[in-house]
Amino acid sequence: MMRRRQLVLAPAAALLCRPAHATPATLQAAIEAFTGGAPLREGRIRLDVSTLVENGNTVPVSLSLDGAGGSGTSDAVRRMALFTERNPRPDVAVFEFGPLAGAPRVATRMRLATSQTLVAVAQMVDGSFWQHRVQVIVTLAACVEGG
């Protein structure tokens, strides 16, 4: 069943196809490497991603501070990080906000190997850490690439 699933996953996961993938344990370890083991609270950071993704190769994601409305100062946040539960590796990106950042937000595009949980973590200037977790379903391209 796993083998057939790998084959069917080929288009969306073509770039990420290998038997192993991140586990809840490696995800946890990656998050802890970012937080240094500090307590992690829910909220303040917001992860925007489509919960139903038609193609896992290019998935727009956006990280921002909840309630900041996309504008205002970014004094409060120092870094934002993004992690996945079931890609081959849990790390996606870590962003650091400099003095000239105009708002506490950043958008990029990522790859999703399969349906899974994404975790965004913010490190605030006061040293606190906050997270937002989102479940994403990934559907697949119709034809397997032949040429």
């Binding site: 038609e54 193609n55 190769n57 727009p60 391209a141 034809c143 690439e145």
Partner: protein, 247 residues
């Protein structure tokens, strides 16, 4: 509109089909995409295909500008494939670029799906964005059009499907998680998410052939040129979106 039509496709309602046919029944592949992918195409600053358009602009300046202004290129993509008198057959836009290379730039033709050729084709076709595809009207194209029409309904491959079976009969319905589009070449060369890169209509056609387990026609073959010509006739009047994004 796209969500509406997809739900109609799932339900398979004849009523929906009748209502759709009362207006323009043809829809570009963009209508069948998720909102996120549509947004990707609409934003010129985020659409990855513009990297190729930008590259094409530089190549155009270096090689083509000696004969052509950028303004000259507006409308060109709407009327390709077109008849080439010297070869005595229709040629696609990329074949035409290569003929220019050989005849006027004194350079070697660019390889099919090479970055150089895709960049130039993207740049030239982009100059026609917003313009309708012209119905092929040159009487010399008639034979190729007939061949294209024939190939479009011809069953092929181990799966024994024709283009028409998926893209006419089942457009709007779902195949393994994706919605089947109507196969109108409104945005080529496209950035296909599956390829993570820009590719031509011929690459897409060959991939469809592989998808039904048929031996793909060669790049720049008469068959693929005829199919492109027929698809343009079928899509005549629809607006060019190049560079498009497709899943």
């Amino acid at each position: 509109m796209s969500g509406w039509l997809v739900r109609c496709g799932l339900v398979g309602g004849a009523l929906c089909a009748a209502l759709a046919a009362a207006a323009e029944p043809r829809q570009s592949g963009v209508e069948f995409m998720s909102p996120a992918t549509q947004a990707l195409q609409r934003d010129d600053a985020a659409n990855p295909a513009f990297l190729w358009v930008k590259g094409g602009a530089q190549r155009f300046e270096a090689a083509c500008a000696r004969c052509h202004s950028v303004a000259d290129m507006r409308g060109v993509a709407t009327r390709y494939p077109a008849w080439d008198g010297a070869l005595g057959k229709p040629v696609t836009l990329s074949a035409r670029i290569n003929l220019c290379q050989e005849r006027h730039v004194d350079a070697a033709p660019l390889a099919a799906e090479s970055e150089a050729l895709l960049e130039l084709e993207s740049f030239v076709a982009h100059q026609s964005r917003g313009l309708p595809i012209a119905a092929p009207s040159d009487p010399k194209l008639a034979r190729a059009l007939q061949l294209g029409a024939k190939l479009y309904v011809q069953r092929m491959g181990q799966l024994d499907f024709s283009c028409a079976q998926c893209h006419d009969a089942h457009a709007g319905r779902r195949l393994a998680g994706s919605t089947i589009p109507q196969a109108h070449p409104t945005g080529y060369p496209i950035y296909r998410l599956e390829w993570q890169s820009v590719g031509s209509l011929q690459r897409r056609l060959r991939q469809c052939q592989s998808g039904v387990r048929a031996e793909p026609y060669s790049y720049a073959s008469d068959e693929l040129t005829a199919l492109e010509l027929y698809l343009n006739q079928r899509a005549a009047g629809m607006i060019i979106e190049t560079p498009a994004v497709r899943p």
